[in-house]
Symmetry: C2
Subunit: 552 residues, 2 copies
């Protein structure tokens, strides 16, 4: 195969936030960058998660040289268990990311068969015709990397999720020196994070939070409960240190945060000062002003610790007058309503709640416009492909490049399955690969599609009505009383008249057509249409109608 041609194909993370997955192909080598999941949108009823369409990778499993995971967030790592069910390839990740992956591969079979390799910034990973060198970037989880990808036709750079934080709490800045060296080497293609492309200016530094947390902790008289993301380990470390300095102990509420802290503590990414860590039961015995609780549920997730506290159903923590609850987080669009409901409930229980942008208790982990421009100007690639973002973000990121002087024909806003081909003659789009939505619902992957979702949507709006009627085989007339069973349609105790009208309508249809029509399907169809009409006239609702016509 021609290894002087490189193909870049995103399977996710373009036109959407989530399920990042980019496929690199060169000669007969395939390398996969990230394998993330996406949380379902509102209209994906009953769907648990959405994953990339891995069919192309499964079909070409023998050519996959490796999977590199840029950091440990769900939208970069969450679909790995699904990918590893079908393909066997080495997985490369930095220590913390690897720790989180191991925890994620719960099924013993998967964990035993997975080939996991630890990599560090500066390592050179030869993968077939590609050689990959990770470099350190700042993000809202430690140990995040971007990738320098050396190919037979030259150097590509993939930023991963990044921001440029000159004073990060984890200590190391995005490796600008390394980026400058890559730039000097000459970059053919830059692929960059677009998540915050809508935000002008610079994203604030994590260290800006030190003062804010101190001030807010200083004001609180009673217990302090901090809700944040379980993966935001530098934030968690900041809360631990602030608490310890102010004479408070720290307990953790929420399984995912406990697990992440355990992994991070083992690897040195989270440290508790001596005598700071306590269990929830231990901390309950302390005076209020010595208590700090780290909790999951900053997005209002109904089963997370904070939502259960807000609803008064968390065993060890009962919210009371004097408590201060801090939201060190930003609402992911779509979650606003459930977050607000929790805040309301916490206020109702007497807590003081500090939340929202004005509170200054959160900074983003993604680069804003000036940082994106800096990355573009620092690397000055020949070609540019914005990744990781909904379509408008990719478009705005592309527009930033145009403002910096890039030619429109050198900027590629890709869609899922699009193939960007780079070779000695330049860059162009190839024939796109058809990709489908892959919904995971329960233990089944991929069976839920438009039909099932349409049915669920109809049922969710007006419920269903089963109309069961027996027809005498010899006369074609109704035998016995038709039976009506409904759920989610109308309030039964008040709908006697409507149900009687439905029964009469069924009898009427059968008596009129039964003697002439042999086909019970046709009778059923006529009952269905008649009931649809009746119910719509009487209620302006359109329940799903299931006619069951049996011979008696």
């Amino acid at each position: 195969m021609n290894n002087r041609s490189v193909t870049i194909m995103p399977l996710g993370g373009v036109g959407e936030i989530g399920r990042n997955c980019t496929v690199l192909e060169c000669g007969d080598s395939i390398v996969v960058l990230d394998a993330g999941l996406m949380f379902p949108e509102q209209e994906m009823l009953g769907v648990d998660i959405v994953i990339p369409d891995f069919r192309y990778l499964v079909q070409n499993r023998d050519r996959i040289r490796g999977i590199i995971v840029s950091h440990g967030h769900e939208d970069h790592v969450g679909a790995l268990p699904y990918l590893l069910r079908d393909i066997s390839a080495p997985v490369y990740a930095t220590p913390l990311t690897r720790g989180l992956i191991e925890n994620k591969l719960r099924s013993r079979t998967l964990r035993e068969h997975a080939q996991l390799y630890t990599i560090l910034p500066g390592d050179e990973i030869p993968l077939g015709d590609l050689r990959i060198t990770p470099f350190h970037v700042n993000h809202s989880i430690p140990n995040a990397i971007g990738l320098a990808i050396r190919t037979p036709i030259g150097l590509l750079v993939h930023t991963g999720d990044f921001k440029i934080d000159h004073t990060p709490l984890e200590g190391r800045t995005t490796d600008l020196g390394q980026l400058a060296r890559l730039s000097a080497e000459g970059v053919i293609l830059l692929m960059a994070d677009s998540t915050n492309a809508e935000s002008p200016g610079y994203t604030a530094s994590e260290s800006q939070l030190i003062d804010t947390f101190h001030r807010v902790f200083h004001r609180a008289r009673g217990r302090i409960i901090v809700a944040t993301f379980a993966s935001l380990l530098s934030r968690i470390q900041l809360v631990i240190e602030t608490a310890a300095e102010m004479g408070r102990k720290v307990a953790v509420a929420g399984r995912s945060m406990e697990e992440n802290i355990a992994i991070a503590e083992k690897l040195g990414y989270v440290r508790f000062p001596p005598d700071t860590r306590m269990t929830l039961d231990q901390i309950a015995t302390l005076p209020d002003h010595q208590v700090c609780i780290l909790a999951t549920g900053a997005q209002g997730e109904p089963n997370a610790a904070l939502a259960r506290m807000a609803a008064g159903r968390f065993r060890q923590v009962h919210i009371k007058e004097g408590d201060t609850v801090l939201f060190s987080s930003k609402a992911i669009p779509g979650n606003e309503t459930q977050i607000h409901r929790n805040i309301d409930n916490l206020f109702r229980l007497g807590a003081n709640v500090v939340y929202g942008e004005e509170a200054g208790l959160h900074v983003s982990g993604h680069a804003a416009q000036e940082e994106l421009k800096l990355m573009l100007n620092l690397l000055r690639p020949l070609y540019f492909a914005p990744l990781h973002g909904e379509y408008r973000m990719l478009r705005i990121h592309a527009n930033l490049a145009l403002e910096l002087g890039f030619a429109p024909e050198d900027v590629f806003v890709l869609d899922k399955g699009d193939r960007l081909i780079l070779d000695d003659s330049g860059a162009r789009l190839g024939e796109p690969l058809p990709v489908e939505e892959v919904y995971v619902d329960g233990s089944l992957v991929g069976d839920v599609g438009t039909t099932i979702l349409r049915d669920r949507m109809a049922l969710s709006q007006d419920g269903f009505v089963i109309a069961k009627v027996a027809v005498e085989a010899d006369t074609g007339h109704v035998a016995g009383d038709p039976q009506i069973i409904s759920q989610g349609f109308v309030y039964i105790p008040e709908s006697e008249a409507l149900m009687q009208a439905a029964q009469s309508a069924i009898i009427d249809v059968v008596d009129r057509y039964g003697p002439e029509v042999d086909d019970p399907e046709e009778i059923a169809e006529r009952i269905k249409r008649r009931l649809q009409q009746l119910f719509y006239e009487e209620t302006r609702r359109r329940p799903v109608i299931i006619p069951l016509v049996t011979a008696a």
Copy 2:
């Protein structure tokens, strides 16, 4: 009855944004302030709108002296048709509000029987033991009023929805002079809008938008499409004037906006400069740089003009390269996803889209914290009840009052149905009235409740399975093959094995218990449990299961 006691009871608008309705009672007089609707939250499946529980008003209909509507927004006026179906009372409103109400009372019967009266700021409206004088306030719709309510025990003030805009586009400011006179008279109770209580500082003036719109219009080369709220008439006027100044004609896309503009134009609240107004068909014949289209759909409503343009299914306007689409609006929480989807689609079609807070194309119609403090300090009431807001907003508004020196016992955060009683001895809470959620779904009001919503939720997640089996009356064994019908559960073409397993399970249950058990209900229950178990094991889904056991 004792008319030296006044009761204030909110039936909505507290603990929620929407369906504002406050009941005032004095002696045997009842006055209703506003009768608004609320749009359903995500989990209120199939519900069209939510209205206040009017039962108390219906029970006491003979004592209702009047209904005063503060302005023409749906959350203040939208439930009026439902209230007027059951009670007959005079409705008082300013000219524009009255025009919008007339349009709303579509049913001829309602419109013919409604007693509508036009009021103006400064009028004195005697309603039984109460005398009410409206005063002008700024809000995001013209002709909005607050109310001075004179009672036998003294003066109450209700702000309505307001902001303090010193340079409003409609010309008149919130009547601070009148508020100062009321303050001098001595205010017992202030009830005030809390919608923006979370926002520090001052809400920006509408007139700040003049420059922004000019700048954005100046930059656009092609057509301009402005999406905004159909009720935001001063904004609509600003767009019309900017367009006219820049040599563009204006057409309107969207029924609600057309209707509102027609009403407002007749009453003088919207004016088109000569030769500016065009139909969509006329404007389609002009060069792009002379085109400005006002469109509904700023909240992403799927059937509004903008969403149809974004989806490529609006007959007269096909979005193309060079179009500029402006969002002069702010996302109502919960609508973010559908708004973003429209923006993405507009970008995909080639438009430049200007949206978000940074764009500066929208200002709020509600008072921020400093304005709320100004209102409190200007009126210095004895007692204060924040209204119009979700619980956290009411709480924060109450906290502002405490910062200003109000005593905690003089500040009342009310819930729906709470009664605040004012008399010569002071203010206290009375026995609350039990109020229920009232959902409107189709043509039925109030029948949808927790049972129906729970059923719809279950159906929306995993669909249903009907298991139909005939049992031989004499032997108790299965007659014929059991029949399985499902919707929204699994993808049928790939589920043959599962359905066969279900049939076998049904046969097994009937053959085991049928000969012993006489009660078909019990057999049905056993089938249900067996299938629940089978389906959960095989799919981790929990469809609603309807067993139908018939005798053969």
